[in-house]
């Protein structure tokens, strides 16, 4: 029985009188893809933001790779190997694609308080960056200005940045958002290829993708975890069906 890579214990978050995260306890085991689903407004993105450190919880603990990171700032968690992608694509649009990824390499390659030398020319940073771009199919777009990429390519770039961080855990916040069928299939394929290298937390609305990828699914409704289990178990649960009433059949 191995240790969970991520453990959330009784996490609480409220905005005024609105309870957004209600006593959430959840763990992510090594190598698994753990999906979090739930209707809109269930608090999924807030949960991801608490895990990555952009929002501070009001109560509870977050334990990552055996270390209590509840009070740690986002950069500290990132350096421990917590990588994430954003629901609304978050990259550096003015920089070339390869530099977006090279910066992630730079963050863990010794000191960045270096004032001489051209960072963009450092092979030490560019080589791992290009390797990550290879994995996500962006190798031939390396010199393109990141802001000029297509939506799907930007999503792939986010993944490349995460890969370059040598993640211990990858948080994916709605990676399929805004993608057509083809792009979604490609993204799913890519994630399946990466599966097992590191655990992933997948927040997603696209049920086909969720069922293709997830080992376990936690269902978040009104800020609470209502069901945890295998995809089949979740599919059959009446509470889940009720919450998704009106959504296309799973």
């Amino acid at each position: 029985m191995s240790e969970p890579v991520l453990r959330l214990e009784a996490l609480q978050k409220r905005f005024g009188s609105l309870v957004v995260t209600d006593d959430v306890t959840l763990d992510v085991m090594p190598g698994e893809i753990h999906a979090i689903i739930g209707p809109n407004g269930a608090g999924k993105t807030t949960l991801i933001n608490q895990i990555s450190g952009l929002i501070a919880p009001d109560g509870g603990r977050i334990v990552f790779a055996g270390v209590d990171v509840t009070q740690a700032p986002p950069e500290a968690r990132a350096l421990r190997g917590l990588a994430r992608t954003f629901q609304i694509t978050s990259i550096l649009p003015g920089f070339p694609v390869v530099e977006n990824v090279a910066l992630a390499v730079q963050a863990r390659d010794g000191s960045s308080l270096r004032f001489i030398g051209r960072a963009a020319d450092e092979a030490k940073l560019n080589r791992p960056a290009r390797a990550a771009l290879e994995q996500t199919g962006l190798a031939d777009r390396a010199a393109v200005r990141a802001g000029d990429l297509s939506h799907g390519e930007k999503r792939a770039l986010e993944l490349a940045i995460a890969l370059a961080m040598q993640p211990q855990l990858l948080l994916l916040d709605e990676p399929m958002a805004g993608m057509g069928r083809d792009e979604t299939d490609r993204q799913v394929e890519l994630l399946l290829r990466l599966k097992g290298q590191f655990p992933m937390v997948l927040v997603e609305h696209d049920m086909a993708a969720v069922f293709a990828l997830a080992d376990r699914i936690s269902v978040l409704i009104g800020g609470r975890i209502v069901v945890v289990g295998s995809p089949d178990r979740v599919r059959a649960d009446p509470q889940v069906a009720a919450a998704y009433l009106g959504e296309p059949t799973i």
Partner: protein
């Protein structure tokens, strides 16, 4: 912040490359030739004016580092210039007029003030940051006005320019002019190097997307503080030059109007380019000289010009020059 900013030039251009050497080289050569032209035309005033342009250009280039590359709109930059100037003035009032002392003191004092205020300012973002830097600049200004032993509101005259280990190098205008030029070129080269370095890349990245940089693993505030301190120190150096040039220090050197003028110089020239700051300083000061010679209240004309430039000009003078260049290359 939505919509087009006339101010910010894209990052990839900002990092600079070999082909951009011609422009700045030409610019510095022109500055270097001014003393010869002045001698030929017996126009002493030209030398003074060019020296003034270069002095403010140093501060403007430092500000461009913050504004154009760091996205940190510091509205209190003149305070660092003033501090550097007052360092010279106060030391001189106590009989210490060796540049070997005044020069480093001016820079260190400015850096300390930048560090102390930066720690507070950088906890804020956006408009709050602008206003808190403005307020700290005002604080420095009011402290200067209340320094009765050093002239208070009226300022302090400096007996003579600094000497270099006893040698009156700056006494004569020409050698001093070239010293200023060296400082400007040094500032430019330093900032160029910084911007392309690992450090510079983090600062530039933070301007584009600070939360992304944090989730990659960078303690953004730390890097911004270092940039803020460096810019402050460089502005302090320009204050040293200003005090020596005018042989006078006054709280007006630190006024928020001065800080505003520095911002205008950076934006007018085209922020995020470094050369733009130098061009902007020249454009602003030369326009001021020219207009004030024509009518007394020249600001009545200059004010609306600024408004028009903001409303209709994009990328400042560098932006216009680039567009002109591209159009000509096309033709």
């Amino acid at each position: 912040m939505t919509g087009a900013a006339m101010s910010i030039v894209p990052s990839d251009r900002a990092a600079g490359s070999g082909r951009d050497v011609a422009g700045p080289l030409l610019m510095f050569m022109m500055f270097a030739l001014v003393p010869l032209v002045a001698a030929l035309t017996a126009d002493r005033y030209l030398l003074d004016l060019a020296a003034r342009v270069m002095i403010f250009a140093v501060a403007a280039v430092a500000l461009d580092l913050l504004v154009g590359y760091g996205g940190l709109i510091s509205f209190g930059h003149a305070a660092f210039m003033g501090l550097g100037a007052y360092a010279v003035g106060i030391l001189s009032a106590h009989g210490i007029d060796d540049a070997l002392v005044s020069f480093p003191v001016a820079i260190v004092v400015s850096m300390l003030f930048a560090w102390a205020t930066g720690v507070v300012c950088l906890r804020t973002k956006g408009a709050y940051f602008i206003m808190i830097t403005l307020a700290f600049g005002q604080m420095a200004y009011f402290v200067a006005t209340s320094l009765a032993p050093y002239g208070g509101d009226n300022g302090l005259t400096i007996a003579a320019r600094n000497t270099l280990a006893g040698w009156p190098l700056f006494k004569s205008d020409r050698p001093f002019y070239y010293f200023i030029l060296v400082c400007l070129v040094g500032t430019y080269l330093l900032c160029r190097t910084l911007v392309a370095s690992r450090f510079g890349r983090v600062v530039r990245g933070a301007r584009e997307n600070a939360s992304r940089m944090a989730t990659i693993g960078f303690k953004v505030q730390q890097f911004q503080l270092v940039a803020y301190v460096i810019a402050g120190g460089l502005a302090g150096m320009s204050g040293f030059l200003l005090a020596n040039s005018t042989e006078f220090v006054s709280p007006a050197y630190m006024s928020w109007q001065r800080s505003g003028e520095l911002i205008i110089m950076v934006i007018l020239g085209g922020s995020g380019t470094l050369e733009g700051a130098i061009i902007g300083a020249a454009a602003y000061l030369l326009t001021e000289e020219w207009l004030s010679g024509i009518i007394e209240n020249w600001q009545v004309i200059f004010g609306p010009v600024l408004v028009l430039v903001v409303l209709f000009g994009r990328g400042g003078l560098m932006g216009m020059a680039t567009r002109l260049w591209r159009w000509w290359a096309h033709v």
